[in-house]
Symmetry: C2
Subunit: 390 residues, 2 copies
């Protein structure tokens, strides 16, 4: 086990109706003037935004709006937010939405406390030393950003989709999580969220740091719970218990618990970031298109952990060769994702003629000569995986 | 799933040699004058206390000593600590040890900020509103107190062993956890710690709040990891990887993660508290003597979760009746504990003639008419379980 530091100070307020408490909670964390950040019209149509506004007003907390955050969020909205924060003397950022809205909020929170360009953080020119406090009202269980210190933003100029990972400073102060708010998520969004959280676990499961049994078992437990609960939310979107399980799984998958004490991989995420930056697809669907190819390539290059995943998570009985066991596991993962309506390759994702040269170029331009840790992929190897994913 | 609030702000600094960083960490959390709290001579003999002192001095942090905290810690030492804190203007409490030392530290931290008697907190007369910050150097993986907001103290007058549970205020600011410090733990202490952490999970696993699959899976994962790693630490006490796994399992078992979203039981702990208060046994050994009786009684009264434990944790194949499956699971748990050298009943614990009348009286005097939640035990029922445990 590697030495590690682990700290998850976010206060999770979870359950039916909890969004009505958000004013009191913001108050408790010292917010007096809030930037209310959201995406499209769904939070308006559902009445959620109005309920949040009411909860803030009841505590005499002022707020200003910034709507229109889009999936695969971009730098433009971050700059807009930073300007508002400064001109309006905002002291608390409250995203109401999913990963894109929360990630934008984090970038604004850090950027507003920094004299230079916030993009410096993403290219490693400057560390995030301070940030405005962020609290979250979560509506999409997927990205796990409500409990993580991470954010992913795309710079439109050059289409650089980069992630920023902080230890503690960008973890939300609180996350208000009402599973009822996810009842109206369309099936495709629900399924994409499920793929995203599963891959958050898998990026940490694929490691060369052995003998971290406790972290393995937690990873496997989260994956097994997702596999049990996902079909329930797909067949009955208003199943509160199943929605609640999936929502909490999303947080557990990405708050760091599944990676404790070891090296992590993240090649699949980095490869997908190029796909969604270039083709504007939903991140979770991009992952379900890339990951089967990544896993299949691993079977002939470094099968060990694929075998363990097959046996412990997908209940595969050991076959004559480790490779056969691993392939059966991948087949079961694909059947599972197929049953949720997810694409299993780029073609099914709607990317008929992927520009693989460009994907490989951008990947290594953004991430360096080698990508991933479980196997450090060079250009030729990442190209092979993109080709397998066609 | 029940509504819940979950917040674990403790910063875990884990790995080889990390105790040398303790001065810097205390500094970061604002400590300038520290109460250094510990138990017997082992931290002196091992040189650990000297290393901690050195780390504090290097940051110009003053400290005063309070040694001699005993297992099953008592109120007397808490009063002593509160007096020192007040007379010496201590602003940070640093326990170096296991659960008893940490629990004493928490009681001192809360009591020093309160005008009345600290025991008020334990009998529910006053809530803990504030406390001095506590940081931990852990030497015994068992109680999980390094990551919990709980403390258990015995009032000598009347032998009341009571627990106090807070949401956040008594969670340590940090816990420094070096698995190497546990290499010298005697086998019996190691085994008792393992029983304690397993029962911390089980108290939360035995619940009537169904459909919390994610929490079930995390509980089962922690138990499975303990079962895999425990034999390794018993046969090779200096196996760093196994010690590290067990140490982190102890934290995971009791930081609240295993109880998220549901009712918990705790009858076995409350029954054991009476046994250790009366007979001075080690808490973990008291648990391994009580829990098999508790489980066996449950098989004929409410077997459901015993069955699930048997199947999912002890890999029992389903038998003709749920009861038979459950009993096979209990048998495997007992074999496992036996293999660690733990007692499986009061006789083996060294309590030849337990005063069961007195145990039942004290239990219900301290905990009320009904004890536990999975089945709410009345006096007759708790007596039956004590009898089964003879």
């Amino acid at each position: 086990m590697n030495n590690f530091t682990f700290c998850t100070p976010t206060e999770f307020v979870f359950g039916k109706g909890v969004e009505t408490e958000v004013g009191k909670i913001v108050c408790r964390y010292g917010g007096t003037k809030v930037l209310l950040l959201y995406g499209g019209g769904s939070v308006l149509r559902s009445g959620l935004l109005a309920r949040v506004e009411q909860a803030l007003s009841a505590e005499n907390i002022e707020f200003v709006h910034l709507g229109g955050v889009e999936p695969n969020p971009v730098d433009k909205k971050v700059y807009e937010g930073i300007d508002i924060v400064r001109s309006e003397n905002v002291d608390f950022i409250l995203p109401v939405g999913g990963g894109s809205v929360i990630d934008t909020a984090k970038a604004i929170a850090a950027g507003a406390c920094y004299d230079g360009d916030f993009w410096d953080f993403f290219v490693g020119v400057a560390p995030v030393r301070e940030a405005l406090p962020v609290g979250v009202v979560l509506t999409i269980p997927a990205a796990g950003s409500e409990g993580s210190g991470n954010t992913v933003i795309t710079k439109l100029d050059g289409l650089h989709k980069l992630s920023l990972r902080t230890d503690k400073v960008l973890r939300p102060r609180f996350a208000v999580m009402n599973p009822e708010l996810t009842f109206t998520l369309p099936p495709y969004q629900t399924a994409c969220g499920i793929a995203d959280m599963m891959v958050h676990v898998m990026e940490r499961y694929f490691t060369n740091t052995l003998h971290v049994e406790i972290t393995d078992r937690i990873c496997e437990g989260v994956l097994k719970a997702i596999i049990t609960e996902a079909p329930k939310v797909m067949s009955n979107p208003c199943d509160y218990e199943a929605r609640a399980n999936i929502m909490w799984c999303g947080t557990m998958a990405h708050n760091g618990l599944c990676g404790v004490g070891r090296e992590e991989d993240w090649a699949s995420h980095f490869m997908e970031h190029e796909v969604s930056a270039l083709y504007g697809v939903t991140h979770g669907a991009g992952l379900s298109a890339i990951v089967p190819a990544w896993l299949t390539w691993m079977v002939s290059h470094h099968a060990d952990r694929v075998v363990q995943l097959a046996i412990r998570v997908f209940d595969v009985e050991e076959k004559d060769t480790p490779e056969a066991t691993a392939l059966e596991g991948i087949s079961r993962l694909k059947s599972f994702w197929r049953s949720l309506g997810l694409p299993l390759n780029l073609h099914e994702l709607g990317v008929e003629n992927p520009d693989i040269d460009l994907l490989v170029d951008k990947l290594h331009e953004n991430k360096g000569e080698f990508v991933g840790r479980y196997v450090c992929l060079n250009r030729e190897q990442s190209r092979e995986i993109f080709e397998l994913a066609r």
